[in-house]
């Protein structure tokens, strides 16, 4: 951070560390949902079992899109650190679109489950599935809203100490959601096939 003499003393490192701590709390929140899913995933109650319900190729596309956005947001962050505002905004913008695409696919999948009589009300397995995947989706949604807010402030001010700090937090948040999705894909979808 030598390129940016920070007027807030070490507010950059303070905020980033605080954001790590926030991510830790969020990780435990998801850990709880994962634990609940692990306990309840066999409670199908005669409904459609996971290996029939899930369509792996479809979810694989979702996964690839989200992992692709990990690359683009990383690029965006790299350009932000080089103070190249327009390129940073371009890559954050691509990330935003990939995020919207992911969320759209996820919404379509959940809508398909509900339409085929597999709503969250039907069994404990489906409840815990919708809770886990839905919470992840809600995080993506908030991430997208937040990204819009940050991009507006970058468009107004360019890359300043403040916007750089925000872009870095945003990037951490997005990568965090990516890592979580890897767990969701593995534990929910892949392991759902082999039960």
């Amino acid at each position: 951070m030598k390129a940016f003499p920070d007027m807030y003393h070490d507010q950059y490192s303070r905020t980033i560390f605080g954001f790590w701590m926030y991510l830790l709390t969020d990780f435990i929140l998801f850990g709880t949902f994962f634990a609940v899913y692990a306990v309840l995933r066999k409670s199908v109650l005669g409904g459609t079992p996971p290996d029939v319900l899930f369509e792996l190729p479809y979810t694989l596309w979702q996964t690839l899109i989200l992992l692709g956005s990990a690359y683009t947001i990383g690029m965006g962050g790299a350009f932000a650190h080089r103070k190249q505002a327009s390129k940073a905004m371009l890559f954050f913008g691509i990330t935003f679109l990939l995020g919207v695409l992911f969320l759209g696919l996820e919404g379509r999948e959940l809508a398909r489950f509900i339409a085929s009589g597999n709503s969250w009300q039907n069994s404990a397995f489906l409840s815990s599935f919708f809770t886990l995947v839905g919470t992840h989706g809600a995080h993506i949604l908030f991430g997208l809203l937040w990204m819009v807010l940050i991009l507006i402030s970058v468009a107004q001010d360019g890359i300043t100490a403040q916007t750089l700090r925000r872009l870095t937090c945003m990037r951490m948040f997005w990568q965090f959601l990516n890592i979580l999705w890897v767990f969701v894909f593995t534990i929910v979808y892949l392991m759902g096939e082999i039960q």
């Binding site: 605080g18 009300q121 404990a124 409840s127 809770t131 402030s153």
Partner: protein
């Protein structure tokens, strides 16, 4: 339009009308007084929107005192009911009202008194002890406070509109599910705990970063006062434990709102899962409450023994050990679940082991006193009372950690006596000690000693009289949460317990007198040095009350007990004044708190438009704050010099 809110919600029995009425009256009197003295502007500008950790700390304490009063009244009503409601007599409280009282008592005392007084004292003391100007995220601190305060209001609102949960403070499903509790009570519980829990979680992050990132030059981890160590451990517990609560309560909420089947007894849901998750948060929570109290005692005992703390290193390791162990004992809250002999044995043994580091701490304090020049001030009285009561409480806990014994006394009054011994003896006595100890630092004069000691004796004797009979009653088979019983052999002991409660109330009365006497004698007891107790840590090195920027010059630390060393060696800071960078006040915390309240009120009463309005309000407050650029200001060197020479502002 009004969801399920109708005039039906206003119907109560006469006791509830009286409680609700006196509450409205109290609020109205406060409102009129503030209006009459034209203090709303001052309150808003200098307190409600303040980001100064000292002011936020004091606001926490004010809210907690109101809550403590409320919780004590609940306790008194329960003791009164159980003293009478035997055999033919059914007491003066209906069963459903009694259930709400014990639920509200638990929620009030854990979430709003225990957490409130601890966050209050942490806010006040911690930044000063590490030589910082404020916490890491001052505005976030204000947000936490308002989430805490607004969620606490539900306990009062439920007195007038509808009713509170009758499930006990732990609110287990399936009883807490929609099927068996269709009313608003459980929803009030859910949102009270959810919002205050999120506030605590944010505070946890805030103080963790404060401790790890904002210590003054020279204060390495191993030079931190033990209070700071205790808070570091506490905040680690907060950060690890509270998300579990948030997730668990969110799932119970969806069970009730959109019909998910996670904790239900049907459709494959698992009520025991809730109980496991609840206590995976709940047991660390016990240590979240008591570790700060341990920290307080670790500050008080050396100061009033005129010795440095015995066994600093073992104290730190004891804290760390408790932090780790507190996450692997949760199952002892429900040995009767029937998890099997091996599981129960593991958790039983872990529970016994956790007594070891706690014992280390007790002995360290006692060895600190050994051959010290002990001053028997009020804080030391509370400490000595704590040693006795907390040790008994801890040993009864070890007794219950034996699964076979626990099957006998599970959910009996023995358990109730046990956790009151540790929570009142530990947390509340610790808070009283810390409050008396740090009072002169923040108000500017010492508290009255003689009334304080009388209050202590009434509390101490009253406490033993009120709670010792419960141990015996537990062995006799009396279970907790009874609004009526038919075994006449129990009644004398319940009457004794009620007498103990009266003694405690007299103690509270003396505490009020103590405050009044303190105000009356404020000129005589004024603290002009900033160091009334001959203290050892940095908070005593600045004036009483401290200036809003805490320290004119950033302190530099070379040893443990830095202020003590400075005084002994005669070396004081001789740096020049420097420019000070301070955060500006912000109203965003108030608005987030208010809109969270509005949003959750809408959800509780199924007024979806109101819930949406609240949610939009929260978002709007956050977005507005996002684009505010004018967030800080600088005090010039000359300004600092002028303020310092004028004396404390």
């Amino acid at each position: 339009m009004f969801g399920r809110l109708s005039e039906q919600a206003l119907k109560h029995d006469w006791i509830e009308y009286m409680a609700g009425g006196s509450m409205v009256l109290g609020g109205l009197v406060a409102f009129l007084l503030i209006t009459y003295y034209r203090k709303w502007g001052t309150l808003w500008k200098e307190w409600f929107t303040s980001v100064d950790h000292k002011r936020i700390g004091m606001m926490y304490l004010v809210v907690s005192f109101v809550m403590l009063f409320k919780g004590l009244v609940d306790a008194g009503m329960m003791r009164g009911q159980q003293a009478f409601a035997c055999g033919e007599s059914f007491g003066y409280l209906g069963a459903s009202h009694f259930q709400q009282i014990f639920t509200a008592h638990g929620v009030t005392m854990i979430f709003f008194v225990g957490m409130g007084v601890m966050f209050g004292l942490i806010n006040l003391v911690l930044p000063l002890q590490i030589g910082a100007r404020d916490v890491a995220f001052p505005v976030l601190n204000n947000i936490s406070f308002w989430l805490f305060t607004f969620s606490g209001m539900y306990i009062f609102v439920s007195l007038i509109l509808g009713f509170f949960a009758g499930t006990g403070w732990s609110c287990y499903p399936p009883l807490a599910g929609l099927k068996y509790n269709p009313g608003v009570g459980v929803d009030y519980w859910l949102w009270t705990v959810q919002i205050s829990g999120i506030g605590s979680m944010l505070s946890g992050i805030n103080f963790l970063v404060t401790i790890l990132k904002m210590r003054c030059p020279g204060m390495t981890l191993r030079r931190m006062p033990i209070f700071v160590w205790a808070i570091l451990a506490t905040m680690i517990l907060v950060v690890f434990a509270f998300p579990i609560l948030t997730a668990t309560i969110a799932m119970l909420s969806t069970d009730r709102l959109i019909d998910t089947k996670i904790f239900t007894a049907d459709y494959g849901g698992s009520p025991m899962l809730f109980i496991n998750l609840f206590w995976a948060w709940g047991h660390p929570e016990v240590y979240i409450l008591v570790l700060p109290a341990f920290g307080i005692f670790s500050e008080i005992v050396p100061v009033f023994s005129k010795k440095r703390l015995f066994g600093y290193t073992s104290m730190v390791w004891a804290i760390v050990a408790i932090t780790v162990l507190s996450f692997i004992v949760w199952l002892h809250h429900f040995f009767t679940m029937g998890a099997g002999a091996n599981v129960n044995a593991f958790f039983g043994i872990m529970t016994m082991i956790i007594a070891v580091p706690t014992g280390v701490k007790i002995f360290n304090w006692l060895f600190t006193m050994f051959r010290g020049k002990i001053q028997f001030t009020t804080p030391m009285y509370w400490f000595l009372g704590f040693v006795l009561i907390f040790t008994i409480g801890g040993m009864t806990g070890v007794l219950m950690s034996i699964p076979a014994a626990d099957f006998q006394i599970h959910n009996s009054l023995f358990l109730v006596a046990h956790f009151h011994f540790v929570i009142i003896g530990g947390v509340l006595f610790g808070f009283f000690a810390g409050f008396t100890y740090w009072f002169p630092k923040f108000i500017g004069f010492k508290m009255n000693e003689s009334f304080g000691k009388v209050a202590f004796w009434f509390w101490m004797i009253g406490f033993v009289v009120a709670f010792f009979p419960l141990f015996i009653l537990g062995f006799m088979g009396a279970t907790r949460r009874m609004d009526h019983y038919s075994v006449s052999a129990w009644q004398p002991l319940f009457v004794v317990a009620a007498l103990g409660a009266i003694l405690i109330f007299i103690g509270v009365g003396f505490q009020v007198l103590q405050i009044l006497a303190t105000i009356k004698e404020r000129k005589r007891n004024r603290d002009t040095t900033g160091d009334p107790w001959d203290g050892r840590t940095l908070e005593w090195s600045t004036s009483s009350p401290p200036p809003f920027y805490n320290f004119a010059m950033t302190p530099e630390v070379k040893t443990r007990d830095p202020f003590w060393e400075m005084k002994r060696s005669g070396v004081r800071a001789t740096q020049e004044y420097e420019e000070i960078h301070m955060p500006k006040n912000s109203a965003v915390g108030f608005w987030i708190g208010l809109f969270s309240f509005i949003c959750s009120f809408g959800v509780i009463w199924w007024m979806w438009w109101l819930a949406a309005l609240g949610a939009v309000g929260i978002l709007a407050a956050i977005i507005t704050r996002f684009y505010v650029k004018d967030v800080d200001y600088h005090l010039s060197k000359e300004e600092v010099k002028r303020l310092e020479e004028k004396g404390s502002p």
